[in-house]
């Protein structure tokens, strides 16, 4: 693992560490995971851990266009649909 990959792994672990203990994550066919379990997967850099990293990186890259994903209340047409 390169230094950059280790840094990214640490960032993802730090972010997942904010999960409350009563919350679990469901990842399709992979199953359900507690905070400790999902962080362990990231530490082990297995397929589930890599998926968590991919999701967090994808999100962080989306942030530069964050306003594209926000809707002011007056533009919310769903409730009138």
């Amino acid at each position: 693992m390169t230094q950059e990959e280790k840094l990214i792994q640490d960032i993802v672990i730090a972010r997942l560490n904010t999960m409350p203990s009563n919350i679990a994550i469901s990842i399709g066919n992979e199953g359900e995971f507690s905070k400790k379990e999902i962080i362990d997967h990231v530490k082990n850099n297995d397929n589930i851990g890599k998926k968590m990293i991919e999701i967090q990186l994808s999100y962080l890259q989306s942030l530069k266009n964050l306003t594209d994903y926000l809707i002011p209340e007056q533009h919310d047409t769903y409730h009138t649909a």
Partner: protein, 212 residues
């Protein structure tokens, strides 16, 4: 007529099947006939039998999935690419099953499915484990499952598949906006990335003007 599958054998299927009950209620309120294959009834034999007997216009899958398969109870395959995807010909499909819109969805369209809405990656959601006796009260899961249900609610109201997909995307964005405005660490670090993920991997294939 609508066919809904509700397998229920693990936390994921328990939660999504529970959240889909409001869809069958909405359809019934609107005088639309609904057939629900719940629990062990979410098997291939029953599925194909109902498809043949009532020929539903809309099929709503809840369950696990892969790029080539949608599963029912205890992961019994209901639809397998190259085997029985023609069962969905002429129908509108919403598949809340991981990955199924990646390969199976396009093949269904090739075989005559009118429209296929689903996910090209894993559908991921968080849930509150203290709500196991009543998943519908789980507001954390609701952040993810309400935008999903939005597809079906919109279709039942008579909107097209394109409009229903847009409504769901808008619902995701509303949840994202709420979390950004809330601004706490859990929302920003944990929930937001996965809401983005589900929103960005939800696709609508086939005829954008298909409706009930």
């Amino acid at each position: 007529m609508i066919l809904i599958t509700q397998p229920n054998f693990d936390i994921t299927t328990q939660w999504i099947s529970c959240w889909s009950t409001e869809i069958s209620k909405l359809a019934t309120d609107r005088k639309i006939k609904v057939v629900v294959l719940d629990g062990i009834r979410a098997n291939r034999k029953e599925f194909e039998s109902v498809i043949k007997k009532i020929s539903p216009k809309l099929v709503f899958f809840n369950g696990h999935g892969s790029d080539k398969t949608v599963f029912g109870h205890k992961n019994e395959p209901l639809v397998i690419m190259g085997d029985n995807e023609d069962q969905l010909a002429g129908k509108i499909v919403y598949s809340l099953a991981c990955l199924s819109a990646k390969t199976l969805g396009p093949e269904c369209i090739n075989k005559g499915t009118r429209a296929y809405i689903g996910y090209i990656e894993d559908f991921i959601f968080f849930h509150d484990i203290t709500k196991i006796s009543n998943p519908l009260s789980d507001q954390i899961a609701g952040m993810f499952l309400e935008p999903s249900n939005c597809i079906m609610k919109s279709l039942i109201k008579g909107h097209t598949t394109q409009m229903s997909w847009e409504h769901s995307q808008q619902c995701f964005k509303r949840k994202i906006t709420e979390l950004v405005m809330k601004g706490d660490r859990v929302s920003i670090n944990t929930y937001l990335p996965h809401l983005f993920w589900d929103m960005q991997n939800q696709v609508s294939l086939g005829d954008p003007n298909a409706s009930l």
